[in-house]
């Protein structure tokens, strides 16, 4: 069994129009820029994207939005240093927005990966985000029922990967990547270094290969922050 794929283009080739795609990262850290750019080149449209943010500048997720590929965005925080692309699309009515509190977003994704269709959280009780959701009282405190959030595809960024799909991450670039890996039907990882089987200490694996469908090596991956400081635009 070898899950490695030669190019980012090949890795994202099957993503169809209308797919729900989770994209890892928190701001630029852990954002799989090369996979996102490959998805732009591939041309899929009418996507629903799940990400913590809404893109920054004119690369990565912002570029995907700028190219008109995203019909709906599910995120917790659509602000950034340069959120112009999203703001313009939103104000023009070209993109729908579902705001989810960050912890609820993470837990809904984790629940999807863990086979839990619904759970109760204190987060958002009494606020607009609880509107229309069931509420229940446990031990005298009120909680909101939240549902799992699944995806067809997850595009994630990891540090080391082996042919079975075992992954590690780099510092705070871990963020949403491991939970998204577990919540999608097909999970595609870009890894900064592909190592042979056995090249990752079993104690240090963060995402076991069972959650990964395919991985491709992208050495020296682009950092969104660096691209934006250089005022890069994709494509």
């Amino acid at each position: 069994m070898d899950k490695t794929i030669q190019t980012a283009a090949e890795a994202v080739a099957q993503i169809p129009d209308g797919a729900t795609v989770m994209i890892g990262g928190f701001g630029g850290s852990g954002a799989p820029i090369e996979l996102i750019h490959a998805l732009i080149d591939q041309g899929a449209r009418h996507l629903t994207v799940v990400n913590n943010n809404a893109g920054n500048g004119h690369v990565g997720l912002a570029a995907l939005i700028e190219q008109g590929r995203v019909d709906k965005l599910i995120c917790s925080f659509p602000r950034s240093a340069d959120p112009g692309v999203f703001v313009a699309a939103y104000r023009a009515g070209k993109i729908k927005l579902e705001i989810v509190p960050q912890g609820t977003l993470a837990e809904r994704i984790r629940a999807a990966g863990a086979g839990i269709p619904a759970f109760y959280t204190p987060t958002g009780f009494g606020t607009d985000v609880a509107e229309g959701k069931p509420v229940a009282v446990f031990e005298g405190r009120s909680y909101v029922q939240e549902r799992w959030l699944k995806a067809d595809y997850a595009l994630i960024k990891a540090e080391l990967g082996d042919p079975h799909g075992n992954l590690t991450y780099r510092m705070a670039a871990r963020n949403f990547n491991p939970v998204m890996a577990s919540a999608a039907t097909t999970t595609i990882a870009q890894v900064s270094r592909l190592v042979p089987l056995g090249g990752i200490d079993p104690e240090h694996v963060v995402t076991p290969g069972i959650f990964v469908s395919a991985l491709t090596e992208i050495p020296n991956p682009a950092q969104e922050e660096d691209l934006n400081r250089a005022e890069a635009i994709y494509p």
């Binding site: 069994m1 984790r110 999807a112 990966g113 863990a114 086979g115 839990i116 082996d162 042919p163 079975h164 075992n166 577990s182 042979p196 089987l197 056995g198 990752i200 079993p202 104690e203 694996v205 076991p208 290969g209 069972i210 959650f211």
Partner: protein, 229 residues
């Protein structure tokens, strides 16, 4: 009642037959006890990856006696070994894998299997101390749930039944049974016979089965390596 002692498959043969259906690259959980034996019979060129509930994926075979490390065990508390590719994780993450539907196959033992796919394998209901372990999680969540079992109990009563009389492990979960006499799928119609050993007649097999055996397409011979008998 027909005496099947001389003709029925050995446990090793049943395990061998179940192993033939595991696809290359499949993620597999084997129940504790008899099902663990399935791992010994992976067909050449097909490499399954084994998961154990206590937090290990992609582990290797049993160590030689005297080389056990008791921090490296499977769900049956038997010593295992590392593979290149092994990973460790905690119990909640382990059952996230299970419950989240990430396992391709789980193979379990059974006290009773009903023609509806209901499984009873955790409590005889006779006042013994119940012990469920991970079975209830596995049967609800793996993509395919298979059972390996003797076709009848030690006293000759059917284990494949119309309705389970023992406490259930899961409802409508089993899709294939590898018994000591036959391979049987569970479909909307109930038990659908796919393979039987040559040494038993269809009538005799039916007489040892607690619900109707349906035929749907060709009936194959269930043939296993004789050296495993």
């Amino acid at each position: 009642m027909i005496d099947i002692t001389e003709i029925k498959l050995s446990n090793a043969q049943i395990a061998w037959r179940a192993a033939q259906d595991i696809e290359d690259g499949a993620y597999v959980n084997l129940g504790i006890g008899f099902p663990e034996m399935v791992a010994q019979f992976q067909p050449h060129g097909k490499q399954a990856i084994f998961h154990t509930e206590n937090g290990v994926l992609d582990f290797g075979k049993s160590p030689d006696k005297g080389h056990e490390d008791w921090d490296l065990i499977n769900a049956g508390k038997k010593a295992i070994t590392l593979n290149p590719g092994t990973s460790f994780f905690h119990h909640a993450d382990s059952f996230a894998m299970v419950r989240g539907g990430h396992l391709d196959v789980a193979i379990l033992g059974a006290y009773q299997v009903a023609q509806t796919g209901d499984l009873a394998n955790w409590s005889t209901g006779k006042g013994g101390i119940p012990a469920v372990g991970g079975a209830m999680d596995l049967v609800q969540s793996a993509k395919r749930i298979a059972v390996i079992t003797d076709h009848v109990t030690k006293t000759g009563a059917p284990k494949l039944v119309d309705t389970c009389t023992m406490p259930l492990t899961g409802v409508g979960c089993v899709t294939r049974i590898y018994s000591s006499l036959a391979v049987i799928d569970i479909e909307v119609a109930g038990f659908v016979l796919r393979e039987k050993i040559a040494a038993i007649s269809l009538d005799d097999l039916q007489s040892l089965t607690g619900a109707p055996l349906h035929l749907d397409g060709p009936l194959q011979e269930l043939a296993c390596p004789k050296e495993l008998a």
